[in-house]
Symmetry: C2
Subunit: 346 residues, 2 copies
Amino acid sequence: TDAIDLAVVAGDGIGTEVVEQGLAVLEAALAPSGTKLSTTEFDLGAQRWHATGETLTDEDLEKIKSHDAILLGAIGDPSVPSGVLERGLLLKLRFALDHYVNLRPTKLYQGVTSPLANPGEIDFVVVREGTEGPYVGNGGALRVGTPAEIATEVSVNTAFGVERVVRDAFARAAARPRKHLTLVHKHNVLVHAGHLWRRTVEAVNAEFPDVTTDYAHVDAATIYLTTNPSRFDVIVTDNLFGDILTDQAAAISGGIGLAASANINPDRTAPSMFEPVHGSAPDIAGQGKADPTATILSVSLLLDHLGFAAESALVHDAVAADLAARGDAVRTTDQVGRDIAARVTG
Amino acid sequence: TDAIDLAVVAGDGIGTEVVEQGLAVLEAALAPSGTKLSTTEFDLGAQRWHATGETLTDEDLEKIKSHDAILLGAIGDPSVPSGVLERGLLLKLRFALDHYVNLRPTKLYQGVTSPLANPGEIDFVVVREGTEGPYVGNGGALRVGTPAEIATEVSVNTAFGVERVVRDAFARAAARPRKHLTLVHKHNVLVHAGHLWRRTVEAVNAEFPDVTTDYAHVDAATIYLTTNPSRFDVIVTDNLFGDILTDQAAAISGGIGLAASANINPDRTAPSMFEPVHGSAPDIAGQGKADPTATILSVSLLLDHLGFAAESALVHDAVAADLAARGDAVRTTDQVGRDIAARVTG
Ligand SMILES: CC(C)[C@H](C(=O)O)[C@@H](O)C(=O)O
Ligand SMILES: CC(C)[C@H](C(=O)O)[C@@H](O)C(=O)O
């Protein structure tokens, strides 16, 4: 590739601020090779919804599909009813573009303070399933607002869906030094879904005989993340458990200001999407306070996905160096972006 | 009451060891008032299942129902397929006896070391719904073991079920100095169930105007439990989120060796059940290593539920004093039980 055609969804709140810095660093990383970066901005999020009532139209979706990748800032605003933008935009993108691997690396970088007294070495990656589980939007409500109301949420899990994400997780584990995979679920209660996950991990393990595996219930996993996060190498888990664990994982490794994520379509039938784990943080929006590091690390994942391994490493190492030098200095969003871009340029 | 008729389900692994100490402390607490404690032991758990294939028969259940309360140790063993005892025994008790309030207090006691670098003051209680949500056992699987397998888990939430537990949580919040209630859910994704919970909290708040409320998504709640657990006073949440958060809550406040729980039927149509949050821990069973503190704190909850407020406080204070004096000394299960019982006797 000598060109990248990027769809940019800056979104709401601090989304625009952090995406600006992500793009600056991306430019800096691509400059030496002369790779051309072209971007198309998509006006999606709270403003668009207020103005038009639209979240993500079929036309938007088709246009986005023609890009090589998506960089997303953050979606959501208190002025929009809960669920409208999440289900109608963010999750719609993940589902429509078949982002079945939601990749969330967790690393406690040098220079970063963990809220844990003895964090030890933290370096694992969560492979969160992205297109099934309780996120499918099945279920509904009856007799809403009456004493006889009933609301259901259906978690849908298929052999097709579980196997492909488990295989991806095994491949990632096999490529890491420790070659260890932990399945997180709750198969003692959610027996149907849980046993499907468990059997699938056992079956796919045969294809990756050098990967060791173990299992943790999701409740126990929150304990391990508190007392011994070093035990984890690759975690594979369902959509909801992955959502919960990756926020906790971010918390123990310096906060969601640093937590990157990639919504990957490994079959490349549609563009993958890269976004910080954090939300739109309306409380600090517009103040230049947001930390763009999570977005910049997501840009590193984006570069890797598009085959720019060297550039990906460059961005990653620039972030690591910036974090190591960071100390207590307070910098604006722009300053952090500029400093990291400067390290990338070298 | 001048007598307590207690059903005892010691269960598996360390269950028998910790229950023995729980009972000893209970005896010590009741002795001064001359309250008679009679116990009926129920042979339930892995051994019974291996011997008879039974988990909890209707006859067992009827007998248990005739008691004032249940003290449970722990259920589960690796030799039993996952889910059999959990669904067939533990959850069956919670559901059949309508334990809709699963109460889990979290306190960082003096003398206890938290894995958090700056734990601050930790003193909150989780009111976990106990009879609905993804725990209902609805759902199922089709074409199991084939590439076309599909497994569903249905979370069922009713106005009836949500309202009664929310009201209980408000009443608890109103009785605490801070009078603050946090709803934890994921209403931006699980919109049907989430909005029912949210509307219910808003509605019941009118009956408790001096209670302040806020809301946290379950993923964000794991962050707060890591970075600022002091913000919580009473948390009300669904069955699964409550399961996850209370293990994390135990982890930050000294571990599951200290975490007590009460499965309460507030309407008293059936006996309530008191059990440590921890499991049967087969790896340390039979070695006298298990910490009976969680069970003893559960006994304090039991006494309170049965109207023995002074005795409940006595046991609680004895545990607090034991913890404050504990240091690094290694004691057996029996020694810890004896030491706490001695403090109760005074
Ligand atoms: C905003 C929300 C829908 C989203 C999710 O639950 O997946 C977020 O929490 C995340 O982790 O990316
Ligand atoms: C053993 C299991 C079924 C149980 C639960 O999930 O409720 C346990 O984790 C708990 O928290 O009491």
